[in-house]
Symmetry: C2
Subunit: 414 residues, 2 copies
C-alpha cells in the first residue's frame, strides 16, 4: 500500500470544519487574523491534535509552530510541509489552514500505515502569512529564512498600535509545551498544499496543479501628509488635502497599470483618512498598494511609476508623501524535481491536473531559495478566495493530501 492509501477524507474534512469554528463569521467565513486570540486557539488545537498522536511541537522566535514525526535517522533535516492558520479579516475556511491540515493528515497517514522514513517529516504553521493585521505578508517564513529581520518584524504595529512582539507572546504562551526551535534550521525539502485561489483548475475541471513558480510581488505602504482645515472656509488654493492627493495618485497609477493582457495586479486594499471628520479637510492618508506580475521587468516598471507619481501628486497639492516598499519579492521558480514529482504523483493516482504558475504569494516563496520546494494546488469553488464565500470540495482536498503524502514519503525516504 502507498502512503496516500492511508489518507482519510473524512478526518481531514472534520479537522478543517473544527478549525473553521475559530473566528467563524456570520457569513460562513473566518476572521482569524494573525496573533489574535483566535489564532492562538487554532495553534492550541493543532498542538492538542499533535499531542494525541504523540508528535512533539516546536516554536521559533517569530512563532512558527512545527509538528514533528521523527525519522529513523533523526539527525537528518526534516522534509517539511505546511502553510498558515491566520486568515484575512473576511477570509474563508480553506486558505492556509488547508495546507497545515493536509500536512497533518499526511503525518497521521504515515503513522496509521506504520510507514517509517529516514528523514523526519514536519508540518509547520507559519506565522502571519496574510499580512492583514501586521505587514508584510509571509512574515513568519520570511523571518525564518532570514529575508526579513526578526527585530523589525517584532516591532511592527497593527492599526491599534499593538506590536507583533506583544501579540506574539500572548499567543505563544498558549502552546507552552512547544520546544524552542532556532530560526533557519535546515529543511531537506518543502512542499506546500493550498487552494488555488483562482479560476484555472475549476474552469478546466482538474483536481491537482503542480506549481511551477510564484509571480513577482511588491507591497507598499504610502503615507500622505497634508494639513487640517475647515471645510467651509478654506479656499481650494490654501488646502493641503491628503485625500485628494491620494485619489489623484491612485487614479493615475491604476491607469498606468492597465495592460492588454490583464496580467498586472494592482490593488489598493487599505485606505485610511484622518481625522476622518466629514467637515474637516483631511490631513493624513495611509494607503497600501499590492502589485503583482509574472514578469520581474513589469513590476520594476510600475515600481518606478509608484515612486515618482505619488510624491509628484502630493507636492502638486501642497502635501508630503512617504512611499515605503514593505516587501519586494521577484518571481520565485520552484525546484524542477519537486514540480515533476508532484505532477507524476497525481498521474499515478489518476488525477487530472497540470503544471501551472501561482497568482498568489505563499510561504513557499521564501523557502524555495533555502531548500528544493514546490506546491500542490487544489481547486476552490468559482475560484473565489479572500472572501467569506470561499469554498472547496472534500474530495478535491483529500486528493491534494494524497499527492502530498506520496511526495513527502518519497522525499523523506530518498
Amino acid at each position: 500500500m502507498k502512503p496516500s492509501d492511508f489518507v482519510r477524507q473524512d478526518r481531514l474534512w472534520d479537522r478543517l470544519m473544527s478549525m473553521a469554528q475559530l473566528g467563524a463569521t456570520n457569513k460562513g467565513g473566518v476572521n482569524r487574523q494573525a496573533l489574535t486570540e483566535e489564532d492562538g486557539r487554532a495553534r492550541r488545537l493543532l498542538a492538542d491534535w499533535a499531542q494525541a498522536r504523540g508528535f512533539d511541537v516546536y516554536q521559533d522566535a517569530i512563532g512558527n509552530l512545527f509538528v514533528r514525526r521523527p525519522g529513523t535517522d533523526d539527525n537528518l533535516p526534516p522534509v517539511t510541509t505546511g502553510s498558515h492558520l491566520d486568515t484575512q479579516p473576511t477570509g474563508g475556511r480553506f486558505d492556509g489552514v488547508y495546507g497545515v491540515l493536509a500536512g497533518f493528515e499526511v503525518l497521521e497517514a504515515l503513522e496509521d500505515g506504520g510507514i517509517q522514513t529516514p528523514h523526519p517529516v514536519e508540518v509547520v504553521a507559519w506565522t502571519n502569512e496574510e499580512g492583514a493585521r501586521f505587514a508584510p505578508t509571509a512574515m513568519g517564513s520570511g523571518v525564518y529564512v532570514g529575508k526579513l529581520p526578526l527585530q523589525s518584524a517584532l516591532e511592527t504595529v497593527d492599526v491599534e498600535g499593538v506590536t507583533v512582539a506583544d501579540a506574539l507572546s500572548a499567543v505563544t504562551a498558549m502552546t507552552p509545551e512547544a520546544e524552542e526551535r532556532p530560526l533557519r534550521s535546515p529543511v531537506a525539502a518543502y512542499i506546500e498544499a493550498h487552494i488555488e485561489q483562482g479560476p484555472v483548475l475549476v474552469t478546466a475541471g482538474e483536481t491537482i496543479g503542480s506549481v511551477t513558480s510564484i509571480q513577482s510581488q511588491n507591497c507598499y505602504q504610502i503615507e500622505i501628509y497634508g494639513e487640517e482645515a475647515h471645510a467651509g472656509t478654506t479656499p481650494r488654493v490654501n488646502r493641503s488635502d491628503a485625500v485628494l492627493a491620494a485619489v489623484e495618485a491612485i487614479a493615475h497609477l491604476e491607469e498606468t497599470a492597465r495592460d492588454e493582457a490583464d496580467a498586472m495586479r494592482f490593488t489598493v486594499g487599505r485606505f485610511i483618512a484622518q481625522p476622518g471628520s466629514p467637515n474637516t479637510v483631511p490631513s493624513h492618508v495611509t494607503f497600501t498598494i499590492d502589485l503583482r506580475h509574472p514578469e520581474n521587468a513589469e513590476i520594476d516598471r510600475m515600481a518606478r511609476e509608484i515612486e515618482t507619481v505619488i510624491p509628484a501628486c502630493a507636492e502638486r497639492r501642497r502635501c508630503r508623501a512617504e512611499v515605503i516598499c514593505t516587501s519586494a519579492v521577484p518571481v520565485t521558480p520552484f525546484a524542477e524535481n519537486i514540480v515533476d514529482m508532484v505532477d507524476r504523483a497525481r498521474l499515478d493516482l489518476g488525477l487530472p491536473g497540470r503544471k501551472m504558475p501561482s497568482g498568489a504569494g505563499h510561504d513557499a516563496m521564501y523557502i524555495a531559495p533555502m531548500a528544493p520546494s514546490g506546491m500542490i494546488f487544489v481547486p476552490c469553488v468559482a475560484g473565489i478566495s479572500h472572501n467569506e464565500a470561499e469554498d472547496a470540495l472534500p474530495e478535491d482536498l483529500a486528493a491534494g493530501a494524497r499527492v502530498l503524502a506520496d511526495c513527502l514519503a518519497e522525499l523523506a525516504t530518498g
Copy 2:
C-alpha cells in the same frame, strides 16, 4: 454704564482655558466630540457655573442645554445666545465653546451690573454641531426647530455603532438638575458669537464681523459596494473594486467642482475602505462629501453631478453605489435689523469691523427662520480652524462678548 462695561476679559479667558482642559490633546487642541464623556463633563462644568450664579438650567429631548437669566416679565420669550461645546476630533479651543462662554459672560455682566431686562436672556449649548461623530452637523439646533426629525436623530449611529439615544442618555444624566424644556419653545431673537474660522478679519486687521448670511451646504454619505477577491489571482476584468470606483468618482467630481473664483468648497473628509486588508480587493467604501457655495444654484449644479457621476463610476466597475444626502441647507440670510444692530454696537465701542458672509455653517442657520437672528465673528489666528493649532487673542474674544452684551441687552429690553 453700558452692559459691555461689565464684561471681564480675564474671566472669559479663564473659563475658555478651563473648558479646553476637557478633551485636551497633546498638540494643544481639543478632542471633545459630541456626546462623549468629555462633552458630558463640559456640560456639567457649564451647569456648575450656572448654579454658582443662581441661574436655572434646562435640557430638551436632543440634549440642548439652556442657562436662563430671568427677565422682569418672565412670560416673554427669551433673547437667546450660544453655540456648541462639542469639537472636531482634532479641533481647537475656541470653535463653538467661545459662543457659549461669551454668552455666559454676558449673563454674568448683566448680573454684575444689576441690569434688569424685561425678556429673559438665555445661553444655549446646542448638541452636536460638528457632526464629526454623528451626522449631520447642527443636529441639536436642527431638531430644536423641527428641521431634523427627533427620532431619526436619536437613531443615528457613530462608526462604532453607538446610537445618539444611548450616548445622549449617558451625557444628560450628568446634569440631572436640568428641567425639561420642550423642543420648538419660542425665541424672541438669537445672536451667536463665533470665531471666524477663516482669514478675512485677521487679514484686514479687524475685530468684529457682523454676519449677513451663511453659504449653502449639502452633505452626502456615499456607500460603494463591490466584491472581495484575492489581490494576486483575480484579473482586473473580474474585479468589483470599491476603492477604485470611489477614487474615480472623487477624481471626476473634484475636477467638476474647480471654479475660477475658488468659491466652491468640495471636501471628502471621511473615506473608509473595508475589509481593509492590503491583499484583498476591497468590497466596501464609505465616504462623505461636504459641499458649500454662496449661491444655491451652484450647489444644485454640483448636487446633480454627484447623483449621476457616482452611480455611473460604480457601475462601470461592477459595483453598486448609494448616494445619501444627509443634509441640504440653502443660503441662510440673517435678519437685517440684527445685522445692523451688531454693526452699530461695534462702531459704538470703537471696534474695527465689517459686515460679511460666513463660509462655515453654524447653529444660527437653523434658528434664523424661527426668530430674528445674527452672528458676531471675531478673528482667529491665521484663519486656522478645525485644527489643533486653532488660536485667538483674549482681547478679540472679549471685544466680541462686549458687542454681544450690548446687543442682547437692547433686544431683551426692546
